[in-house]
């Protein structure tokens, strides 16, 4: 396992979190009308306006993009702490796993809404969903690896 060590994985996770944060900030700005979102309104299927301004863009009165932003911030902090760790901290890995499991199912729900209800996808959401999927794979690998150490 030369290419798979905690520091490398933590670095990748941190970078993916930064992508998630950037995407979420853009989505928050789009939700509040700070940016027009025109660059991600490609057609009627790939359309940020249809998704990010629909009734499904909020959960319990809170914009989904803000929930995503907070989630990615937690993942970025935990990844950074994982990168900094001197000896293996399984608690941090458990936190990363808990956070990404919540994020993964949240992302799955949103993908379901896009695919089956709205019949439209927002490109920024798709990038966020791929980011979440990649992070899930890496964190599960990290968790499994640490369990066998």
């Amino acid at each position: 396992m030369i290419y798979f060590n905690n520091k490398r994985v933590a670095t990748v996770l941190f970078l993916l979190s930064l992508i998630g944060i950037a995407i979420s900030i853009y989505s928050v700005a789009h939700f509040f009308g700070i940016t027009s979102g025109s660059i991600c309104n490609i057609n009627e299927v790939l359309n940020c306006d249809l998704v990010n301004k629909s009734v499904y863009a909020k959960i319990g009165g809170i914009p989904v993009s803000i929930v995503g932003l907070i989630g990615y911030l937690f993942l970025a902090i935990a990844s950074y702490l994982k990168w900094k760790e001197k000896e293996i901290d399984r608690g941090l890995t458990q936190f990363l796993l808990t956070a990404i499991v919540i994020g993964f199912f949240f992302s799955l729900y949103l993908t379901g809404v896009e695919a089956f209800i709205l019949k439209a996808f927002c490109p920024t959401c798709l990038i966020s969903q791929v980011t979440t999927l990649l992070m899930t794979i890496f964190i599960v690998m990290l968790y499994v690896r640490e369990r066998h150490l």
Partner: protein, 126 residues
């Protein structure tokens, strides 16, 4: 003294954030709105809003009412599974765009409306 791990802090803050979301959601959804009686009056006078869940102007219109929107008579015009296709009910009602407001006399006003416009349209006091 035992050192508290960073994970414990993260789990605690995370739990607080989730609890905050839940409390905020419950408080925001149940809070009374200054437009409650206005919205109730619109419904009593048979004024109806036609809209679609993907329509941004409809969301703006709903937000103008805040929690009072729960008292508005609302017709969803997007066909389930084919959101851009208008339901027969909305077509028969003469809806051409979203949102559309219709009163008991069959008069229609289209587009996002101010509450003042709706008060004038319905005769309800704002």
């Amino acid at each position: 003294m035992r050192k508290i791990s960073p994970a414990t802090y993260l789990f605690s803050i995370g739990a607080l954030v989730i609890a905050g979301f839940i409390i905020f959601g419950v408080v925001v959804k149940s809070a009374p709105s200054p437009y409650d009686s206005f919205a109730q009056c619109l419904t009593e006078k048979d004024v109806k809003m036609y809209g679609a869940y993907w329509c941004a102007h409809c969301q703006n219109q709903k937000e103008l009412f805040g929690n009072a929107f729960r008292y508005i008579s609302y017709e969803e015009c997007a066909t389930p599974g084919a959101p851009k296709v208008m339901t027969a009910t909305c077509e028969i009602a003469g809806v051409k765009g979203y949102p559309t407001w219709k009163n008991s006399a069959g008069e229609i006003i289209a587009g996002e409306q101010t509450l003042e416009n709706l008060a004038e349209f319905s005769g309800c006091k704002l």
